[in-house]
């Protein structure tokens, strides 16, 4: 297999360990005086966007930052719970840059690019330093040192955290750095603005069209370069753990203007989410992976017990230890409850499909803290306090405050949503759409196939292959923004110092704006019968059933047809109230769903073409005897980068993945 000539990943020469150092020492620089004349647009203020905008502004570039929420601080990153990885080896447990690199490549089922992942592992330690300097209040031990926890897919403790609110604290750190630059006049902030198109001049990204969400006015903004840090597209499934506004519009408009889309079908289904409760459901809530540190996952061993629980005749606490099936510990003794997410999700589905599900819908398993609360934390406290032979009740009372401190906010959230107290009863969980590994294809510089257009954070396809490890998205977003783009953008902008700002009266701006106007006018003029959500929900069902946790050729072919006809129906029958010249959340949603209806088709096409199972992409036709994903390295060890030709027509380009520093093996967590 050869890499398509259209995909030059621009990986620096030299041994893996030296690539980034050499690159940084030799990349062309822009001198400070010239930086002042160069303008950069950053779409998105999540971890990736806020850190990029702040860091670039500190370097002296003129930055314009955009987000659709009312404040930069509210980007979806705020909701990340569990933690952020870094190869600090503070625990002296054998961690290293290489090990983090190795775990990430293996966790991604050998579908990520070695050079990028190694660089990510290298800069991971700097991220923690930077965040601590900003005043991010990470959890600490009594000695004042930073504390760590473990996450899935690893055997070391390298995850830094701030209770169950790590994303919040990291984002507020990046946001404060961003606000400082706004105060200094280095960043112009445009909140409640939505980017709706990209402007290309002579093939280069030169600006965006954005809608002021309060007035509805369209605005033209010029930039010497444009960075998209607009997050993931999990909401194509309607129900996901993403924030309600998370969407694909920014990257999708860029895709239609020439940015190739990498591995669109790679979606992460997170194993520990609160199960669906009814048709009114608008989103799903994650129960952090960190809970798998101490929670044990199980279903009853006997079908009749499962049935009795479903019908409310049996209390799960009354099921004896020997009648419980801790299926992850049984199937994967080496990693137990800490297997990667894709593996844990499929295992839950397997048990529920076999009839062992434990809630009314049959789609839930238990996540149970009783054991560790009593025998780990309760016992620890009993020992500390010198209590001999503590009773069960004592252990429970002693353990509870510790569990509260570690997971209190998550337990409260669970109780709030379900009305059930997780300190007394095992939680019920089920897999849900959580993260998209796919995204715009980028080279080593994080540049897309459109010159001057970059993609950072969840919006790009880069580092997680076919499955992301927990606590690695925050790491990647901040690595991209703080430590990578500030260097790599110089490689491009050093050639742009003579480019004067281009007037937004340029015909390319006019045309891009007209495209946006046309779409808005079309949406407003349909005046059909059904709401936007009606279509979004139907799309979500198609995707979840046929392009979700497991997929097969027949289902995917059907899905493509169904999506096409749903799209047609949408454009004939959607109803958008109000006008476009005012604050109109329904119009915003309509534009986003229109893009999801196109992206969904590409996801299915990608899933259909990849005749193998890897990571989160599980094709039923390709599995081992014991139901594990069966990769086909001979034929599919590549990144699928799709070029948009016209709606319904994409051309596939392949970037071959070469593994020179890691031995490719079947992923085993047994």
């Amino acid at each position: 297999m050869a890499t398509s000539p259209k995909l030059d990943a621009k990986i620096p020469e030299g041994p893996l360990q030296e690539k980034w150092t050499r690159y940084r020492s030799t990349v062309p620089l822009v001198n400070p005086a010239n930086k002042r004349n160069l303008e950069i647009i950053v779409v998105g203020t999540g971890l990736a966007g806020a850190s990029a905008a702040a860091s670039l502004a500190e370097l002296g570039y003129k930055v314009k930052a955009f987000c659709f929420q009312d404040s930069a601080r509210r980007a979806h990153s705020i909701a990340a719970q569990g933690g952020i990885n870094a190869a600090k080896n503070y625990q002296n447990d054998g961690d290293s840059v290489y090990r983090l690199f190795y775990d990430t490549i293996k966790g991604g089922d050998y579908r990520a690019r070695e050079a990028n992942v190694y660089r990510l592992a290298e800069v991971s330690a700097n991220i923690i330093d930077q965040c601590v300097a900003q005043g991010v209040p990470f959890a600490r031990e009594y000695g004042g040192y930073l504390s760590n926890r473990s996450f899935g897919g690893t055997q070391v403790q390298r995850t830094f955290y701030a209770a169950g609110q790590t994303g919040q604290q990291l984002l507020l750190g990046a946001y404060s750095a961003l606000m400082r630059q706004v105060a200094l006049g280095q960043v112009q902030m445009f909140a409640r603005h939505e980017m709706l198109n990209i402007v290309l001049i002579d093939g280069k990204a030169r600006g965006i069209i954005a809608r002021n969400l309060i007035t509805g006015e369209l605005e033209r903004h010029f930039g010497h370069a444009v960075i998209l840090a607009s997050g993931g597209y999990g909401n194509v499934f309607y129900l996901s753990t993403n924030a309600m506004g998370s969407n694909a519009t920014a990257i999708w408009k860029a895709h239609k203007k020439g940015a190739f889309f990498g591995n669109p079908c790679f979606t992460q289904i997170h194993p520990t989410c609160i199960p669906v409760s009814g048709d009114h459901q608008s989103k799903l809530t994650l129960m952090s992976e960190s809970l798998r540190n101490d929670g044990r996952i199980w279903v009853p061993k006997k079908l009749e017990d499962a049935k009795a629980i479903r019908e409310g005749r049996l209390n799960p606490n009354d099921i004896k230890e020997e009648d419980r099936d801790y299926y992850l510990e049984r199937r994967y003794p080496a990693f137990g409850n800490l297997v990667p997410r894709d593996v844990a999700s499929r295992a839950a589905k397997e048990r529920c499909d076999a009839g062992y599900g434990v809630n009314a819908t049959g789609e839930a398993v238990f996540l149970d803290f009783a054991y560790n609360l009593k025998y780990k934390y309760g016992m620890m406290e009993a020992n500390r306090l010198g209590i001999k032979n503590p009773t069960e009740q004592q252990l429970k009372e002693l353990g509870r405050p510790i569990v509260e401190e570690k997971y209190g906010n998550l337990f409260d959230m669970y109780k709030q949503i379900t009305g059930v107290d997780p300190y007394e009863n095992p939680m019920m969980i089920y897999p849900a759409v959580h993260y998209t590994m796919g995204g715009l294809w980028v080279d080593y510089n994080l540049m897309t196939t459109v010159p001057g257009l970059y993609a950072l954070g969840e919006a790009n396809f880069s580092d997680h292959g076919a499955n992301r490890l927990g606590a690695s998205a925050l790491m990647q977003g901040l690595a991209d923004g703080y430590f990578i783009i500030p260097y790599t953008i110089g490689a491009y902008l050093s050639n742009e110092i003579r480019t004067k700002p281009i007037s937004t009266n340029h015909e390319a701006f006019v045309q891009a704006e007209n495209e946006v106007k046309d779409q808005i006018n079309r949406l407003m003029s349909i005046k059909g019968k059904h709401t936007v959500d009606h279509f979004h929900k139907r799309l979500g069902k198609i995707m979840w059933n046929k392009c979700g946790m497991s997929r097969n050729a027949k289902g995917l072919q059907e899905a493509i047809q169904e999506i096409r006809s749903l799209r047609e129906e949408f454009w004939k029958d959607v109803k958008v109230p109000g006008t476009d010249k005012e604050f109109n959340p329904e119009l915003e949603k309509a534009g986003r769903v229109a893009d999801f209806l196109e992206l969904a088709e590409l996801m299915c096409i990608d899933a259909l073409h990849r005749n193998e199972s890897c990571g989160g992409h599980f094709r039923e036709e390709y599995q081992t005897e014991d139901g594990e994903a069966l990769r086909d390295d001979a034929n599919f060890s590549y990144v699928a980068a799709w070029e948009f030709k016209e709606l319904g027509n994409w051309e596939l380009h392949k970037e071959e993945l070469k593994f020179e520093n890691i031995k490719v093996a079947q992923r085993s967590y047994k």
């Binding site: 929420q69 509210r74 209040p137 608008s282 709030q416 005012e582």
Partner: protein, 249 residues
């Protein structure tokens, strides 16, 4: 459940605004408060009426976007819970619920239940940060923080910037919000260098933005969904007095 809603409708900033009454017949107790509004909006749209505009995003109680004033209380009847985390099981069949936007001159209404809270961003811009450029940090474990301080700083930093404290306060004071940020940094070694200037600048900005004075009624703490404590206000007052007395400017 059957629920009657009295909802504040206001076309835009200039409009005077008024209440409208709506009936919902099929409310499930498992719905969140915002999901009930989704149902209301679906209904309004299909009847050819304008849906109610309201802010929301994460629906997990962490982004701080949702902001409804429910039966006279910001974020509704439960302590420590945002509007998006409130569930209909907290109400009774047949209840009438009055829903308004945050009310404060510093938070003008944009439309219906949506308000403009950008004043909070401007307060942060005035000093809610530590001035450290990317790349200049030393190894993280070179800065030791006593666990107790780290925990307290975290509790202060847990503020979601929702503005319920302002909405709850009869003076529309933003003290709790500002104090949470000032406290976070005052408790950490990293925050010491800019400690005085930070509190002076942030308080000055808060006053300029038109927030009211604090008269220690404590409504903010009672209504704060994140349990931000009044202790922070006490700490900020100490910080402020100390800074004002010793400031060289």
């Amino acid at each position: 459940m059957k629920i009657t809603l009295k909802v504040w409708r206001q076309k835009n900033k200039q409009d005077a605004g008024h209440f409208e009454t709506y009936q919902l017949d099929n409310v499930s107790p498992d719905m969140s408060f915002l999901e009930m509004f989704d149902v209301l909006n679906e209904k309004l749209i299909s009847e050819g009426k304008e849906p109610v505009a309201f802010d929301h995003d994460c629906r997990e109680g962490i982004c701080g976007m949702c902001s409804m004033y429910i039966n006279g209380r910001p974020h509704g009847p439960l302590r420590g819970v945002t509007t998006c985390q409130l569930h209909m099981r907290s109400f009774k069949d047949g209840d009438t619920i009055v829903v308004e936007p945050w009310r404060s001159t510093a938070f003008p209404v944009i439309k219906d239940l949506t308000v403009d809270r950008s004043a909070f961003d401007r307060i942060i811009q005035a000093g809610g940060y530590i001035s450290v450029n990317t790349g200049s940090a030393r190894d993280a474990n070179n800065i030791l923080v006593p666990k107790e301080n780290a925990d307290k700083a975290f509790l202060a930093a847990a503020c979601i910037g929702c503005g319920a404290c302002v909405a709850a306060c009869k003076n529309a004071s933003a003290m709790l919000f500002v104090a949470a940020k000032v406290s976070q940094f005052a408790l950490l070694p990293q925050g010491q260098i800019e400690r005085k200037q930070r509190v002076l600048n942030m308080v000055k900005k808060m006053d300029e933005e038109g927030f009211g004075n604090c008269t220690n009624t404590g409504a903010c703490e009672a209504e704060c969904p994140k349990g931000i404590s009044l202790e922070n206000i006490a700490r900020m007052n100490r910080e402020y007095i100390c800074a004002a007395l010793t400031s060289e400017k």
